[in-house]
Symmetry: C2
Subunit: 319 residues, 2 copies
Amino acid sequence: MMRQAGRYLPEFMEIRKKYDFFTRCRTPELASEITVQPIRRYGMDAAILFSDILVVPQAMNVAVEMKPNFGPYLPNPIRDRKTLDAVTIPDVNHELGYVMDAIKATKEKLNNEIPLIGFAGSPWTILCYMVQGQGSKNFDKAKEFCFSSPILAHELLTKITQTTIAYLKAKVNAGVDAVQIFDSWGGMLSPVDYQEFSWQYINQIIEALKDEVPVIAFGKGCWFALDVMAKSNASALGVDWTCSARNARYLTGGNITLQGNFDPSRLLSPPKEIKKMVTQMINEFGKDKYIVNLGHGILPNIPLENAQAFIEAVKEYKV
Amino acid sequence: MMRQAGRYLPEFMEIRKKYDFFTRCRTPELASEITVQPIRRYGMDAAILFSDILVVPQAMNVAVEMKPNFGPYLPNPIRDRKTLDAVTIPDVNHELGYVMDAIKATKEKLNNEIPLIGFAGSPWTILCYMVQGQGSKNFDKAKEFCFSSPILAHELLTKITQTTIAYLKAKVNAGVDAVQIFDSWGGMLSPVDYQEFSWQYINQIIEALKDEVPVIAFGKGCWFALDVMAKSNASALGVDWTCSARNARYLTGGNITLQGNFDPSRLLSPPKEIKKMVTQMINEFGKDKYIVNLGHGILPNIPLENAQAFIEAVKEYKV
């Protein structure tokens, strides 16, 4: 489940009470503990490292705060040549060494029983936050920056891409078994703009990592690009719940592994109904070349027995 | 252009300084003046009545405030049987008589030179606000309500549908030449949930209005339902910029009129580039069975000459 170490778990909420967001990310003992909490409770088939896509801008000299009841806040957004020039390409082992330590600590706790997945935001999605300065319904300032200053935008995207490649390679060296690239905001772009401002950079990351570990690419709302994505060297593609299994298989040509796509809000249905819907989802994707997952991050208000029903339905699935 | 009487016009901002949002909606002289402002400046082929989809919940006994720098705020959201029972089906000519007066005043100002389009939110989109109580990135509370209390949800959707049908019929009687149904948040639902919670109600509205005026249905992010929508009695379907002309024609079967789909943020490109992109868009949709439009509402920060370039490119288009 995406964001599976998230706020629906009481044992996570205990840790959350004591340590703020980035302290949890930066303290290997906490990050690794949070990563394995859902595994202990539910026994998923893979662990996803607890972290945040916004540790990358932080390492690139762009301040990021996590404001309670508000979300990420970047007090000095990138809007022009001067702010762009202050963005650095960091030594990731130095600036993000705490992530590598968290990976090593997690691998020890997992004892090689299940794989560990690391992740990064797509360059476009990271740009969205860097330019907008906070979450947004339409990231209008980020799009304005790209459409009115495309040269600066591509320069920023290139810096983020270089950093992300180094970051994910360091994660692989530290022990992750697969990586996922999250393009949370790719679906805000037209198909043409998506190729220009998002996909070409994701594809550079895939090319740089493909020989080291499997790379999963997930673009929320990016159904329109699934045909191009399917021709890349990604090992699997994530799909969200607006793209049915049938459409996803059709658009990707039927050969690539797909991951998804349960609507996280549907985990608010009664457990019995959840199980029925999960079984139907697996039937529709087919059990081969398929990774059961949500179509986006799990919500904080999901009852434990509902998350349980989701996992059980997968484990109980009979071919 | 959707929201064409909007905040990008200085003459609108003059009125906005003096009167608050709902005063502008409720005062026929102001609403009609705002409606014709963009026509005077740019000479579009149709006027779109200045109003708001949230006048409907207001008429249904659900308070709606427009908070500066926040957007709509509904202090008493619908969450249970008790709050649902307080929602009324109003006499629209009484509760929304000011809209009918605004239509009559606008028709006089337009002098029958161009048609006037009226609109309403889809029942699902209205429910989103009624339950969430404000705008949202994922309308999680609205979806929770539907998925955990589907009986109450359908009761609310039925009330909204009945009100909307009466409201749009009254608008037709008052003089609008076409109506558009906006499903701004339909794209948050899976294809199956979209049919259950949104489309069936939109379709009821289309069926009730189809013999009176052309009905345009627009579902943002609802590419996955275009095939079903194309089989309805809607006269035209709106598409957003994530669905290319080619995909839209393919998904709708090629026979129905389409409206869209310029990315509003792309109006931030230089005017010359805008003209090129608009021409290309018309080429791709084809000049027949096509209404040039944005893919969503115009943004407040669009320079006047950029909106002008959009309109000019359409008027200058040569077959």
